[in-house]
Symmetry: C2
Subunit: 289 residues, 2 copies
C-alpha cells in the first residue's frame, strides 16, 4: 500500500466555496492526501480560475454534479449561504457526509435538524483564519495545532462524526465538542467582538486622520496588531454578525461598558482605579502566553 | 582606526530606566558600538541586576554619578517620572545632551522649556514597543526600520539635535519631526487607543468567561492579535494615559461612538449599513499593507 492510499480517508471530497477557509481546507486535503480527489464548487468565476491555477482543487464543477461524485462535502461559504445551501445538498445525498466550517453554529444546526437527512451533517468550526480572503489567501498547513469545535454531535450519525474527526485529527487539530448555542456565545467573546473592535478602531482613526495621511508613518506594531482584522471580508463578517446578533449585542454592550470605565477614570482623574483596570486586563496573561 | 572607533558617536552614554525601551536602547548602543561605554541607572535592584547579567550596560551607578560621567543621557523611565527627573538632570549638566524616549511629548517639552538648560534636551519617541516589560524584555535590533519622532527641535541646540539624529540614523530609524502637541494628538489615535481597546477587550472577556476557563482553548490568532496589548505594563500606561488625557478622551469618545454604530446596525437589523461600516474599515488596507 502506498503512502497515498494509507493516508486516504475519503476517495472524493468536494469543497463548496473556495475562499480563505475552503481554499485552505482543499489544499490541506490534497497535500495530506486525505482525499483521492478534491473537487470544488464556487459561483465566482475568478475564484474558480484561481483555485485551479493554485492547485487547490483537481476539478471545478457544477454544485449538484460534484456533490453527487463525493463522499464528503465541505461547506465553506459565508454562513448565510451555508444555511441556504445545506437543505439543498442534504436533499441530493444518500449516505455521504456533509460538514460545514462556519463561524456560527446554532443557525445551521437548526436548519440541519429540520432536514430528514440532518443526521448526515456534522457542524464544525476550525479556529483558524486570517484577515485576507479569496482563494489567493489560502494557506498551506493552516489548521495544524489549532482547535476545532464539533457541535451537537449527538444529532449526527456516528460514522459521519467519525469521518470528520479522522480528517481533523489527520490535520493535527485539537477537537473540542460543544453545544451549538454555547459555541455561538463563546465565539462572540473570543472572536466576533475582536472583529467589531478592529473595524471600529479603523473607522475611528480613518475618521480623524483623513486629512493627514503622513501620520500613518507613526503606526507601530501595536496599532497594526489591534487593527489588522479590520481588513477582513465584508460578506463573511456581516453574515456572521447577523447570525450571532443576540450574543454579539450582549458582548458589545459589555465592551462599551468596559470602555466607559476607562473614560470615567480619565474624566475623574482616578488613576488608582485606572491602574486596577489595567491590572485586571493583565490577567489575560493566564490565557495568552 | 578600528570599526569600533569609527562607529562611535559618544564616548559614554547613560540610560536611565532599564526596562523594555531603555534596555533595548542600551543594547542597541552597545551592539552597534555607538557609545564607548554604556552606563545604566535604575531604582529597581532587580532591574539593575538583570541589566548587568544580560549585558545591556557596562556599569550601573547612582543617577548623579553616571550623569556626570556621560556625554549623552537617555531618559527611559515612565513618562511621569521623566518629567520629574528631567529638571534635576538638566541642573547637573553643562554641554551634555539629554534625550527622552517617552510616548507622550508635550508635557516633557513644557518642563524642558521651563529649565534654563532646556536647550540641551531633545524630545524623542521611537515608535517601537512590545507588550512585555522590564530588562528581560529588551530586544536586540528593536529599532531598525522603525519611525522615530523628534519634537520641537527648534527649542534644542543644533549640536544636540545633530547628535540624536546621528544615533537614530545609525540605528536605521526613519526620523520624523513634529510639534510635541501634534505628536500627542496623533499617538492618541495611532497607539494609545489601541491599548485602551485591548485592555477593555481583555476585561470584557475575563468578566464573562471567568467561570469557564476551558473556553480559552478556542482563542485563535484574531483574538490574540487584538488582546495581546492587554498584557502591557500598568505604570507605563497609566502615566501615558494621564499625560495624554485630553487627547485620549477625544479619541475614546469617537471610538465609543463608532462602536455604537455597529450596535445600532445590529439592533435595527440594518445589515446594509453594517456592510458599509465594514467596507469603510477595510480602507485601512491603504495604510496597513
Amino acid at each position: 500500500m502506498s503512502t497515498s492510499e494509507k493516508d486516504m480517508i475519503v476517495k472524493t471530497a468536494t469543497v463548496v466555496g473556495l475562499g480563505l477557509i475552503g481554499g485552505s481546507m482543499a489544499l490541506a486535503l490534497k497535500e495530506r492526501k486525505l482525499a483521492g480527489k478534491v473537487y470544488g464548487a464556487d459561483t465566482n468565476s475568478f475564484h474558480q480560475q484561481k483555485a485551479l491555477e493554485l492547485g487547490l482543487v483537481d476539478f471545478i464543477g457544477d454544485l449538484d454534479e460534484v456533490v453527487a461524485l463525493s463522499d464528503l462535502i465541505i461547506l465553506a461559504v459565508p454562513v448565510n449561504v451555508a444555511t441556504l445551501l445545506l437543505p439543498r445538498i442534504l436533499d441530493k445525498i444518500d449516505r455521504q457526509v456533509v460538514m460545514d466550517v462556519g463561524s456560527t453554529k446554532h443557525p445551521i444546526c437548526v436548519v440541519a435538524a429540520d432536514s430528514n437527512k440532518g443526521n448526515r451533517f456534522v457542524a464544525t468550526h476550525p479556529m483558524w483564519g486570517t484577515e485576507f480572503s479569496g482563494p489567493t489567501a489560502a494557506v498551506s498547513g493552516a489548521f495544524a495545532n489549532k482547535a476545532v469545535v464539533i457541535c451537537d454531535k449527538e444529532k449526527s450519525d456516528h460514522d459521519a462524526v467519525d469521518l470528520v474527526e479522522k480528517i481533523y485529527r489527520a490535520l493535527n487539530m485539537h477537537i473540542l465538542f460543544m453545544e451549538s448555542a454555547a459555541h455561538d456565545v463563546h465565539t462572540a467573546y473570543i472572536s466576533h467582538i475582536s472583529h467589531i473592535s478592529s473595524f471600529a478602531l479603523a473607522n475611528t482613526v480613518l475618521e480623524k486622520e483623513k486629512e493627514d495621511e503622513n501620520i500613518f508613518e507613526l503606526a507601530s506594531a501595536g496599532f497594526e496588531s489591534t487593527v489588522r482584522l479590520a481588513k477582513s471580508n465584508i460578506d463573511t463578517w456581516v453574515t456572521i454578525f447577523q447570525q450571532n446578533k443576540e450574543n454579539l449585542l450582549d458582548v458589545l454592550n459589555e465592551h462599551i461598558a468596559q470602555l466607559r470605565k476607562f473614560k470615567s477614570c480619565l474624566e475623574k482623574e482616578n488613576y488608582e482605579y485606572l491602574g486596577e483596570l489595567i491590572g485586571n486586563a493583565n490577567k489575560i496573561k493566564r490565557i495568552l502566553k
